[in-house]
Symmetry: C2
């Protein structure tokens, strides 16, 4: 470990930046050396960033030390808030000089603990929240150049002001940052049409492990000049470098979006509807979301103003699903609506769809989306649950759900399946709620590990992914090591060693074994 031995006193002593006052314990020479290095690191950071942007007080640090889901709380020798790429490079140079590990953090909305420091107190958090400039918007090139700490919603708003769409969209868009979106290759609700964050990025600026600035801010649709470094930093969760800015692709703003909900008896029927919608609407199809009927009931009980306008398909005992479809049309709302209505009528005639409603107003359309987006909130109100963010070949999803549902029911009778997600991308949030009457916390404690294993084994057997859009962080490091082949782990380790030879960036995240320098 390049972060060196840790000791309990570090976090309390180091915030002052100098070793003053009485110490309750006698330091070993190694501890004293380490303490001096940390003090010198903080002094260098203060010189580079100014005193007010090197946070050492516990109260100031607190918001940066616990992840969004409150699964992980770490400690940090400092929270650093650089305001420019040059300041980020200065921080990395100081970290190199004094051998301090850096944990880059954006909006701190990650789902895998990837931006939370470890418990040692020896790591520093590098917050991007002062890197907020929108550097350029080139409407004729349909690109925007933004700094890593820009909130996703601010990028969307800047694009909208120029008559353009930045299509990345996800629940935390008000607080998550573009840097975090890219570091985790975020997904969201528009992947079906526009791809993941990776597909929306043309160029990057990155501070490398040797504190250099890589200016890869290219605004080009085609560029075949050497290795694809951009896509290596994207999705690396801050373990290969610090993304400081990006060039993002913009789209023309559609004339209208039209939304519908439909009920289907089985997931296979939902897949038939998806195939029909893709064949008829192709790129106009911008959303295709699945919800098991238990999701609908959860929303109904926790958010009664959000009402599904359709009845449970197949009667009270059936396992039905609801589907949310969205078309985005560049011609007109009337054209999109007619296309969607024709599609649903034909699907109904073919027996694929039980019932369907096309939203008659923007308000109704927003209600449909709100139902979909309130599922995690309804789950949270119902108590803790076992979560899985998985992806499968679309052709395997129906069989996966029925077979895994059966396996879970056999082992945990009465467990309730909160199955929803971006069916058009093959991405399910396959979550499991405690049986009625069982304490959710007890259920989570007992079932989580074996259920994760059961579900991931089923996913792996079908060529699926154990993390579709949330990344690995610290949550799934052990799972990654289990399910990746030794060949792939060796390639990943070789890349990590090549680009971050001293394991400076986010050590312990993504790949389990830190490289030996």
């Amino acid at each position: 470990m390049s972060t060196g031995p840790t000791h309990a006193g570090a976090a309390e002593r180091l915030p002052d930046g100098a070793r003053t006052g009485t110490r309750a314990t006698i330091e070993t020479p190694a501890q004293a050396e380490r303490g001096a290095a940390l003090g010198a690191f903080l002094a260098d950071c203060r010189a580079a960033l100014g005193d007010t942007h090197v946070l050492t007080a516990a109260s100031a640090q607190a918001p940066f030390l616990t992840d969004w889901r409150k699964r992980y709380t770490g400690r940090a020798c400092a929270v650093l808030r650089p305001a420019s790429t040059a300041e980020v490079a200065a921080v990395v140079a100081a970290a190199n000089k004094h051998d301090i590990a850096l944990v880059t953090q954006g909006g701190n909305t990650g789902h895998a603990g990837g931006a939370t420091p470890d418990a040692s107190g020896a790591q520093a958090v590098l917050s991007t929240n002062r890197l907020r400039r929108i550097r350029a918007l080139d409407a004729a090139n349909d690109t925007i150049t933004v700094e890593a700490g820009c909130a996703l919603a601010d990028v969307q708003a800047a694009a909208r002001a120029a008559g353009r769409l930045f299509p990345l969209s996800l629940a935390s868009e008000g607080s998550c940052t573009i840097g975090g979106n890219l570091a985790t290759n975020a997904g969201g609700t528009a992947v079906l049409r526009h791809g993941n964050a990776r597909a929306l990025c043309l160029g990057l600026e990155v501070v490398t492990a040797d504190a250099q600035v890589w200016d890869g801010l290219r605004a080009l649709r085609k560029d075949n000049t050497g290795y694809d470094l951009r896509d290596l930093f994207i999705g690396a969760e801050g373990t290969l470098g610090v993304i400081t800015a990006a060039v993002l692709k913009l789209q023309p703003m559609p004339a209208a979006s039209v939304t519908a909900v439909a009920t289907v008896d089985t997931c296979d029927d939902a897949l038939r509807l998806l195939a029909l919608a893709r064949a008829r609407a192709d790129a106009l199809l911008t959303g295709f979301e699945l919800m098991s009927w238990y999701c609908v009931e959860l929303i109904d009980s926790h958010f009664p103003t959000l009402r599904m306008p359709l009845a449970r398909p197949g009667g009270a005992t059936a396992n039905g699903f609801a589907v949310l479809l969205e078309l985005s049309d560049h011609e007109s709302e009337a054209h999109g609506r007619a296309l969607l209505e024709r599609l649903l009528a034909d699907a109904s005639n073919e027996g694929v769809v039980r019932d369907a409603v096309v939203a008659q107003s923007l308000a109704q359309s927003q209600t449909f989306w709100a139902m979909r987006e309130h599922i995690p909130l309804a789950q949270a109100r119902d108590g803790l649950n076992v979560k899985h963010d998985i992806a499968l070949p679309i052709s395997a999803i129906g069989e996966f759900i029925s077979s895994t549902d059966r396996a879970i029911a056999a082992r945990w009778p009465g467990a309730r399946m909160v199955t929803f997600g971006h069916l058009g991308d093959g991405n399910l949030h396959y979550n499991v709620q405690a049986p009625v009457g069982q304490d959710p916390a007890d259920f989570l404690r007992a079932a989580q590990a074996p259920m994760n294993r059961l579900v991931y084994d089923q996913v792996h057997a079908r060529g699926g992914s154990i993390s579709a859009e949330h990344g690995i962080g610290q949550l799934k490091v052990d799972d990654l090591a289990r399910y990746k082949s030794p060949v792939e782990l060796a390639l990943m380790t070789a890349v990590k060693r090549a680009l971050d030879p001293h394991n400076r960036f986010n050590p312990g995240k993504v790949i389990a074994a830190p490289p030996v320098p």
Copy 2:
């Protein structure tokens, strides 16, 4: 150099696999050792592939030793034709054991000499042309799994037979291979809608430098489990590993494609038409190609059956352009045609377009595309010319063309500008033909180096790319070293060293300085 010292006798002596007969010169001990190693390598390859797939005779090797443009001719100790991934791995293992460099080659249609061995005779060509199986087609997942040596046209045909579109399309599709398309991240005519080869690939199988098989054949739209190795091998031109198979994305087959040609006075008008077409048709716009009027004249003189149905815009002395537009429609031909006609009528009313014709039949549509595709052939008939495959931010193209045209006219009066390309992607084939009356070969010899420099300087100053879709190969290795930043070159070198530590794969291509082990 891991390929060791080369000597003139190697290619003649080694094909027999054993050192027999009289030798005209006395070998040094190093030469003898090298000869023994080559002999042992060939013996291992024959054991793995069978005698008939280890080509050593000059006549058998010849088709593999000269690139498509006939700019480079190399020599090889053998041309190896493995028929399976396991055989590729056996070849790499043998190459490791005996320290032989491997040059992977697909359809040998590259434009940058990337698949041609060097002149030493010490390298072996690893041909993928027996890796031709289509392993799977999953219509419900819209994916196809193919081996690297499949011709692009065969993949298109397999997709079509399943009612799907594989949208990658380029002039050499009858002979180029998917492995080569991926290794060079090929572009072509459908990038505007579907992206480059990289965007069409979900997963890869690769034989790595330590002769392991990385099974990354994932058929998923979302997968955030670690570093993006796939995109690192894509576009690496065979310098990081041997791509043996890939999972490719398929699209629903459109109901119809509708094509039009239009004339515009200036490139800026063409860009205005592009913006209008994107806003109105968005993803329905699948082609937007630009041709300078001199291209139209070239075709007219060499392929008189391909006639542009429109007059030169602005009269005989003006620098006009023709634009080819294509919409692909999933509703109906009538819908696509009406949309295209409305678009062109409005563009005409706004003064953006001089004149336009929508193809009235499939035959006329094919003629429009044939005109576009015959430009390089017409150029070739007219004699050699100075070629540039460049990309620019779309917003910079108009100014780039006028300013670079002026600079070229000032230095090479009378030079004729064969400017065409995929305007929607910002990708120009900015080629320059000798002035009337000047010998094309003389012109090429004298003008090529300084004109490349002039054009690339202009491209670089505007944040453009010196290789949009043809890659670096050996043609642009020196240019890459000139125009990439030291930071980026260092990152690329680190990646190369990490994944190919002994410089086994395609040494000397893409990055100039081979890594020191």
